[in-house]
Symmetry: C2
Subunit: 331 residues, 2 copies
């Protein structure tokens, strides 16, 4: 096995986030699923956008956010995802390439438009996401570059994209290609509703040993394992996965790798502005450390530092120089 050209290649939604502050009353009046992610169709997206305050547009997408963080930390990254041939598609493409990430999936002609996620940010920084998947859900298996996947140390998959059919088939094929090339497969569960719908798929992948590294938060862990208690959930999964990473928001995170357990507290910050991307950037810090062969404790600390940076401002793409930030905190 030759050394890979990329540290990581990710398949994920190619989304532009549209973010605005909101009040708690507005969330209630609009009937939104506070703190969660809900899929909306084009009409639903239009209705919510009309109700939204003045907004900012910042590239997003869970796995793409993770790569933006990893690239900022110095990892060599590639991304696969579907945009439409429109202005928001140009924005997404610019931002990911400008971050130093290889991205060659051709834009898709015609409708639907590039995906967008309407994010209502509460006064406490909690984000409520409403996603119009648009072009993103039409990523075809044919768009995969097998040679590129085989040439990346880690294949990172976004659970959100397991929901639409074409990308699911694409991701299944990508797993085969990566495993055949002797690469690692990392998976983020993304959201409980995805596990509600596809939990059997995920459990089968885990039981078959197809996943090397799994990222879950405590809600996803409970949905995936059926165990309400965090430790019981961890116990039921830890022997089925080489690496399990479970995040708990302000309560920090744990990781268990090949039987060894480590924990990290959340990194203290002055003020939570917008929690969008916290999990994505935790994964960025952790995976970068993992790809470099750092200790489990250090991987977790890198995750916590990156997550803290992202929640201190609007948007799920880093503003600070993450490499300097991690160096300053970890040496």
């Amino acid at each position: 096995m030759t050394a890979p050209r990329y540290d990581v290649i990710a398949i994920g939604n190619a989304i532009v986030d549209v973010m605005a502050p909101c009040t708690e009353d507005q969330l209630v009046a609009l009937g939104l699923n506070r703190g969660g992610m809900t899929l909306v169709d084009e009409d639903g997206a239009k209705r919510l956008y009309d109700a939204m305050g003045p907004a900012k547009e910042i590239s997003g997408g869970s796995a793409a956010n993770t790569l933006a963080g990893m690239a900022a930390l110095g990892a060599r990254c590639a991304f696969i995802g579907q945009v439409a041939d429109d202005q928001l598609g140009e924005v997404f493409t610019h931002d990911i390439r400008a971050g130093g990430i290889a991205f060659d999936t051709p834009a898709r002609d015609g409708q639907p438009a590039t995906a967008r996620c309407l994010i209502f940010v509460s006064p406490d920084g909690e984000r409520t996401m409403n996603t119009f998947l648009g072009a993103s859900q039409f990523l075809p298996p044919a768009a995969l570059d097998d040679a590129m996947i085989a040439d990346a140390g880690i294949l990172y998959l976004e659970g959100y994209l397991w929901d639409p059919e074409e990308p699911r088939r694409a991701m299944r094929r990508a797993i085969e290609v990566a495993r055949k090339a002797g690469r690692k497969v990392a998976f983020t569960a993304s959201e409980s509703f995805v596990i509600d719908r596809h939990g059997d798929d995920f459990r089968a992948l885990i039981n078959e040993g197809q996943i090397d590294i799994l990222f879950v938060n405590e809600h996803e862990l409970a949905t995936l394992t059926g165990e309400k208690d965090f430790e019981a959930g961890v116990a039921s999964l830890k022997d089925k996965l080489p690496v399990l990473v479970a995040t708990r928001s302000a309560a920090g995170a744990i990781a268990i790798a090949h039987g060894t357990r480590a924990e990290v507290a959340a990194e203290p910050i002055d003020k939570v502005v917008d929690t969008t991307g916290a999990g994505d950037l935790f994964a960025a810090g952790f995976l970068t450390g993992y790809a470099r062969g750092e200790s489990l404790e250090r991987c977790l600390r890198m995750g916590a530092i990156c997550a803290a940076e992202i929640i201190s401002h609007y948007g799920a793409r880093p503003e600070a120089d993450l490499k300097s930030l991690v160096a300053a905190k970890l040496g």
Copy 2:
């Protein structure tokens, strides 16, 4: 003369800002006009966008930013400006309407696209702007709603838009309509290069008594009057204008209204993040106070408070609740 329906109606560029941090070296390598505004064509915009780091998109446009601030302070506002029928046009339209500002100029079909301003933000917060005017420069005089202009207490004009021919004709007509209706005309000089090109027009408008309130910064004052010394520049203009407002960045601002002079220091802030919109928001605070009949000192303080808010974050549209901010600081 009946009481107007709007406190202010503005004619300005309908622009989406595309903002990214940059290094001083990058400004030099790209040959950019540090701290200034440069017009670029579509190819130039593409070249600069390709060279730019990961960016954020936030609605902008000088007069539109001023209205966003005024509306946030409780003023009744209307905007006239030209977007194209595209996604960035939808973003601009959404953001201005979501701010409570009436905006009915129909989107323009076909090319060019909605205007964008590529803004490179230096480590010290200075912004270097490169504007592709796109659809904005094709605002036709026919797009003006005369009744709406006559129904606003103040007509506010953006000097940038004096440069392209169609909007210049539109603005000349708007001045006539406003004056005939007994309304005030306010004008912001926008940038020295506009005065270099159209200074004779501006001096004629001032000498003919067509302008009631003029906003300039110290550079524009020097270009307009030919006086290098700030006080000499002020002295040469003050008797030709009912209200003159001259801003001096960190050195504060002065205003002279009907022979009375007042000054204000810059509002202290922790850290300058991005100076984009500082002048626009100063005008927002000042004009809102003026429309309410506040004292000159209070108008200046409102300007300084709004300018300080905008330079404390990325983007030229307010993030904080300006009304509460002003109330907390001024009572």
